[in-house]
Structure formats: structure tokens, C-alpha cells
Amino acid sequence: MTAPVLPPYYEIPPAERTAALPQDVVMQRCGLTNDDLELLRDYGDVLLPENGRAPRFSDADPDGEVLGLALAQVGHRLAQLLAVLKTTPGADAAERLEALQAAQPDRFTELRDLLVCCYLSTPMIWEIVGYDGRKQHLPEPGEAESYLAGGLLDQVVARGPIYITPDN
């Protein structure tokens, strides 16, 4: 069995785990260069092209902020996938992805999922799809009761116990 590739957050001492790692440190740990980031964006643009209201991958994250967040989590895996793509035949990003999908579908799916997750984590996409999550929604007084209004539980209660009591 080959030694596992360590994630970028592996080396961080527990007491420092709340602070975000600077991107240059992450890239150094994962052996990634700025050219690699450009390549990732190219692959992203092939997988997620512009379409109507949907921007292409690189336009959804113009400053690379979300890609940076992704690197801090999975830079080691992105680096491994880029290494595989470097040895995959093809004249451009689209051809290489197509070849990867044909030859190593699991690797393709891994890369696709990571890039799709980046894309769907950008502020621009949240705005477009109307995602309002990860915000506080403290229940209003009486809200819990309101969902049960109209005697919703009455028939469950009327039916009575449904469990078996075994002999001991």
C-alpha cells in the first residue's frame, strides 16, 4: 500500500486550527504553482461553461477566493489529479478531460465533483440559485406548534401504542 498523501491541514497544530492557512503555504505544501491554478480554471471552464444566466467556472469566482478555500481543504487531491492529467493525452483541456473520463472515470468524477463543489460555493452562484442557507433561522415563538396545527397528530395518538412488549 502506498503512503497516503497528506492533506494541507495535516501539519497544523491543534491550537492553530482555527486560523485559515495562507494560500502560498497551502500551495507549497501541496506542490502547486500558479500555472496549476490556471490549469484548474481551464478544466473548470470546460466542465462548467457559460450558459444563459450561468457564468463559466472562472467568471463565477473571479478573484479565485473560493478556489483558495478549496485548496485549503483538498489541495493535495487537486495536485494528484493535475499530475494525472499531465500524463493524459490531448491537445487541450477539453480533450484531456475527455480522455480522462474514458480511461479513468473515477478520477474524472473526483475532479468533476471538486470543481462543481467550488463553483456551487461561490457568492455569484448562491445569488443566482437563490440559496439562503447557512444563516441563522431561530424559530419564531409558536412556530413548532404551527407545523402540527389542524390536529396533525390526532390520528397517530388515537391509534395508540404500536410497540410489542415482550415477556421477560
Binding site: M1, P7, Y9, Y10, P14, A15, R17, T18, L47, L48, P49, N51, R53, A54, V66, A70, A72, Q73, V74, R77, R112, D113, L114, V116, C117, C118, L120, S121, I125, W126, V129, G130, Y131, D132, G133, R134, K135, Q136, H137, L138, P139, A144, S146, Y147, L148, L152, L153, Q155, V156, V157, R159, G160, P161, I162, Y163, I164, T165, P166, D167, N168
Partner: protein, 574 residues
């Protein structure tokens, strides 16, 4: 020989004690406590593993005045490390907050060899253990679970009855901040939980309406998630991201609900302490443990009683690693059952998609509505055992894309956003926890090559899902689909296995009355080593079909009560 000291002195260098005996309870997060001891130091109770069950035992026994030391390989997790209210939340589920330790790969995790496993076991290794990562679902098992063999002729009976466990459930609910509605007709009467049930939300109401149409049982589901200030927890704000740690501090996890209290009462919790062996004395009694600190230095802790709480995989691994001339097959293993009979509660799920908005990223997640309609065995279904159901939010944009991928959609290429928009907020998830039969070949062993970051052998886990589980899962998926359509869903999407779930690690040191066919007695005490106890999910006799932590910790609390009540008769090493 009977030796039982009530604590007179503070524990050896507990950082907490620098301020004196009683200090205000700080919520979660303490500095690492280094282990320093003098010759002759001996704990009353040494607990291995600071997760849900270890914390339960430690809190209770420390409060009762015993000198408790706990060794935990993980660290404190700071609430600010949780990503559930941040942009990178869904990305972090691929990295730092991955549920699978093999993918997450933190130094405190140990790798699992799973090439022979149909379901990847998941866990979290930290102060609080799996309770940091869990969803807080907090159901009980049903009375028939204790008598499966005599009621249905399946599996085995437990050596205890439901009546013996029920009071400990009630006590435990207070500690774990259970929010529930009394009166659920699926269970005998329960004590008053500390908090009322959470809102079932629009999607839970939808599901309940469907269940009513079919005349099937449902109830607002219990969660160990606060909706009031309780034991250091604060009211839930429904981020719906419970399973990667609660950034609000509302979900019960033992680092908030238990450890601060245990530490206040004198327990010493040593973090980054990886136990490699339980030691024994010349009489064959457990005498303590040897652990490795983060630099790889070895330390020995002596104790009168050792309590294993390292979960259904970690405990078996450690017992198997603790070989000696006296116990060549591993400690407490004269039955040969340590590590065997692993049960994982296979968890399928079905997504129901609706035409109207249901805000179905809102938590808790956690569970909203549960059903025990098809929990008991019914021979007419063509399989043994059953399952419980629970509704949950479906999550954010990437979770919607994952659902589409499972449904065979290409989630790249044009049109993704329209498809995501159809699922996100317009769907709900029904998870099923199904019972699985105990098979001796489903087991935990020691791998001969793979090791953890301390060089200790990794567990090799074998789990083959049997034909009964396959049939049961198919049957339940169909029934959940029926319920979702009855509730107005326009489409359902089936997942025969929920990704990276369920983290229910059960059965590998089972309870029983017969030392030839069980590892521990009905109080969790080893038949072979009378001062060695097991309190985690290993002791389960059969898997039951629920999220198990409420039951694991109620059993642990029962063991702790028993230990205290019988302290005077407890055999201890010289």
C-alpha cells in the same frame, strides 16, 4: 483485594486545577493536559477514549468523587473550526470535515483497512469522539429489541430487559440535552425531556401529511440538540449542518455537555494520548495502559479499573493488540468473539422532490419526523428485522448536485443550475436506519501492514452486507417512496446506501450471561478480566434499527452506576 479510594487529591497535574477546586465551567476547549505522574500514582478509573460513552462514564464517576483519568488520542475541537456557517462548508466535507477518517486523514485519525467492506465505517477522533460529527438523532430502541430471539426467533436476546435500561435513558436525556415530544406511541412512556421537540419545518409537515394518508406512524423526532440554554448548549438556529460540528454550539457533543463538568469535578483528560496496550498484573487483572504521546514517547498509567470506550472498532483493535502469555488471543477474548459480530446498521435513503418551496436546507439535521411503522419483524415481508425512518433537510447547492449525480445526471455541462434549482429547497431526505444480523465473519482484526501515525497496527474491517439486508433495504426504499408520493412528491430518487454513513459501530464485544458466547456481562464487565469494562457500542447484542448513541450512553451510564454501587467489592490489582 479491595482497593477503592475516594479522591483526596487533585489528579496529577490537571491543567484545570491551577485555579483551585471549583471554577466556573468553561464551555468546550481546554488547553492540552500533559501527563505527568509520580511513582505510585494510580487512578481509580482509567477510561480509554473521550467520545460519547467515555465522557458519560467520566462525568458521572468524577462527580461521585472518583479519580478518573481518560486517555484520548484526539484533541479539543474549537467551535471556530466548524464550517457549517461558512462558505466552504460543502468543500470541507471533502477535506477537514470528511466523515471518513481515511479521506480526512488527520494525524489523530487511524486508517481503516476496508478493502473487504461493503460499507465504509466512519468515525471522528477527538474530545467528544463521534458526538462532534454526529447528527444528534436521539431515539430509543424498542422493547422487543431486548428479546429478539424469544419474540421473533432471530439473533439473540439481550441479557437485560427494556425496563432495566429505561431509567438510564431518562437520566441521560438530561445530560445530553434531549429535545423531544412526550407521548410517542412507538415507545413505553418516557420521563420528561429537558426541552420540547424542534419545529418539524415545512418539509416535515409534508411528510407527516403523507404518513397520515397511509395511516402510518410518525412523530416529531427527538434530537440531542438544544432549543433553550441547557448545559452549555445554546438554542439551535437551524443551519442544518450538524454533521460537521455545530458552529452555533447547539448540538450536544461531549466536549460541551460532559467534559467541562467532568474536569470541574476532578477528571483528568489527557489529549493526543494514543493507547497501545492495556496492561495486566500477575493475577490477570487490568493494571492500566501504555500510551504514546504526540512525540512518540511512551507513558504508563496505572489504575484500579479500566473502562474501554474507544468505539466498536477502536476497542476491539486495542483488546486484540493487548496480547500476553496469559491472554495470547488478546485481552478479554477467551470466547474468541472480540472483534466479531460487527454490525453497521446499513442506511439507505430516498429523496422526495416537490413542486413547491419547502426551505429544505433548514435544520436541525438531526431529524425532524421519525417513523417506527415498519420497525418490528413481519415475516410476511419476506425478510427478518426492520428499520426506522427519519426526515432530514437535503442541504445546499452541492448536496443538490450530488443527488442529481446519484440519479444518473451529468452534473457538468450547461444546465446545471436549473437542475440544482429544482432540488435545492424543494426536496426532503428520508434516511432509514436498518437492522443487520450479527455474523461472526463480519469483524475487526489487526492489519499486518497498515499502521497509524504512531506505527500501531490499523484495524482491518470485514463487513459483507447479507441477503437479508439487501431484501430489507429494497422493501423499505419502496415503502418510503410510497410515503413520499403520498405526501405530494413529484419524483423520488433512491440511494441504496447513504454516502459516508452511518458510523454505527456495534457488536464487537457483545454482552451476555455465558462467558463462552459473550465478551462482557450484562454490566459491560469482561468475563475474563473482572476489573475491565466495555461501555461503547461494542457491547450491543443485536444491532437494533436506530441511531445508537442514546442507547450506547444510557448503557454506559448504567455501567457507571453499577461500578459505583459495587465499588467495595471490586477486584483491583495489587
Amino acid at each position: 483485594m479491595v482497593l477503592w479510594r475516594l479522591r483526596q487529591q487533585p489528579c496529577p497535574r490537571s491543567a484545570f486545577y491551577q485555579g483551585g477546586w471549583r471554577v466556573t465551567i468553561k464551555r468546550g476547549n481546554y488547553e492540552a493536559t500533559e501527563w505527568q505522574s509520580k511513582p505510585g500514582d494510580r487512578a481509580d478509573v482509567l477510561v480509554i477514549g473521550g467520545g460519547a460513552s467515555g465522557a458519560t462514564v467520566s462525568k458521572f464517576l468524577a462527580h461521585e468523587g472518583l479519580h478518573v483519568v481518560c486517555l484520548e488520542q484526539g484533541t479539543w475541537v474549537n467551535t471556530a473550526e466548524y464550517t457549517g456557517n461558512r462558505r466552504e462548508y460543502e468543500l470541507s466535507m471533502f477535506g477537514r470535515w470528511h466523515k471518513n477518517p481515511n479521506a480526512r486523514g488527520l494525524p489523530e485519525d487511524y486508517p481503516l483497512e476496508v478493502s473487504n467492506c461493503d460499507i465504509d465505517p466512519v468515525m471522528y477522533n477527538a474530545v467528544g469522539g463521534g458526538s462532534v460529527h454526529f447528527g444528534g438523532m436521539w431515539p430509543r430502541i424498542m422493547p422487543s429489541d431486548f428479546r429478539l430471539k424469544s419474540t421473533f426467533g432471530i439473533g439473540d436476546d439481550w441479557p437485560i430487559s427494556w425496563e432495566e435500561l429505561w431509567p438510564f435513558y431518562d437520566l441521560n436525556d438530561q445530560d445530553w440535552g434531549c429535545a423531544a415530544m412526550v407521548g410517542d406511541p412507538a415507545f413505553p412512556i418516557m420521563g420528561t425531556p429537558p426541552m420540547p421537540a424542534h419545529p418539524i419545518n415545512d418539509y416535515g409537515r409534508r411528510f407527516a401529511q403523507g404518513m397520515n394518508k397511509l395511516g402510518w406512524h410518525w412523530w416529531p423526532a427527538p434530537n440531542a440538540i438544544a432549543n433553550q440554554n441547557h448545559h452549555g448548549l445554546v438554542p439551535c438556529v437551524r443551519y442544518g449542518t450538524c454533521e460537521s460540528g455545530c458552529p452555533n454550539g447547539s448540538k450536544a457533543s461531549a466536549d460541551i455537555t460532559h467534559w467541562p463538568y467532568a474536569i470541574r469535578d476532578g477528571a483528568t483528560l489527557v489529549t493526543r494520548a494514543r493507547v497501545r496496550e492495556i496492561t495486566i498484573d500477575s493475577q490477570g487483572l487490568a493494571s492500566g495502559a501504555i500510551f504514546l504521546d504526540v512525540e512518540g514517547n511512551e507513558h504508563q498509567v496505572e489504575a484500579d479499573v479500566v473502562v474501554m470506550a474507544a468505539n466498536g472498532i477502536g476497542t476491539a483493535r486495542l483488546l486484540l493488540m493487548s496480547t500476553s502469555n496469559r491472554f495470547p488471543q488478546g485481552l478479554a477474548n477467551s470466547s474468541g468473539l472480540v472483534g466479531r459480530r460487527l454490525m453497521l446498521n446499513p442506511c439507505p435513503m430516498v429523496i422526495g422532490v416537490y413542486d413547491e418551496p419547502l426551505h429544505s436546507w433548514m435544520g436541525p439535521a438531526g431529524q425532524n419526523v421519525h417513523s417506527f411503522e415498519f420497525y418490528e419483524t413481519d415475516e410476511s415481508r419476506g425478510h427478518a428485522l426492520g428499520g426506522s425512518w427519519m426526515t432530514m433537510p437535503t442541504g445546499g447547492p452541492y448536496a443538490a448536485a450530488e443527488i442529481l449525480a446519484q440519479d444518473g445526471d451529468d452534473i457538468h455541462g450547461p444546465g446545471l443550475l436549473d437542475k440544482v434549482g429544482e432540488i435545492m429547497g424543494y426536496s426532503q431526505l428520508v434516511a432509514m436506519v436498518t437492522a443487520d444480523l450479527p455474523h461472526e465473519d463480519n469483524r475487526v482484526e489487526l492489519d499486518s501492514t497498515l499502521t497509524d501515525s504512531s506505527g500501531l497496527p490499523a484495524p482491518r474491517v470485514t463487513y459483507k452486507q447479507d441477503a437479508n439486508s439487501d431484501a430489507l433495504i429494497d422493501w423499505h426504499i419502496d415503502k418510503v417512496g410510497e410515503a413520499l408520493y403520498a405526501s405530494g412528491a413529484s419524483r423520488v430518487i433512491n440511494f441504496p446506501a447513504m454516502p459516508d454513513q452511518p458510523g454505527h459501530l456495534l457488536g464487537t464485544a457483545r454482552m451476555g450471561n455465558d462467558p463462552g458466547t459473550s465478551v462482557v456481562d450484562k454490566y459491560g464487565r469482561s468475563h475474563d478480566v473482572p476489573n475491565l469494562y466495555v461501555v461503547d457500542g461494542s457491547v450491543f447484542v443485536t444491532s437494533c434499527a436506530i441511531s445508537p448513541t442514546g442507547t450506547i450512553t444510557a448503557l454506559a451510564l448504567r455501567t457507571a452506576h453499577h461500578l459505583l454501587q459495587n465499588a467495595i467489592d471490586q477486584l483491583t490489582p495489587d
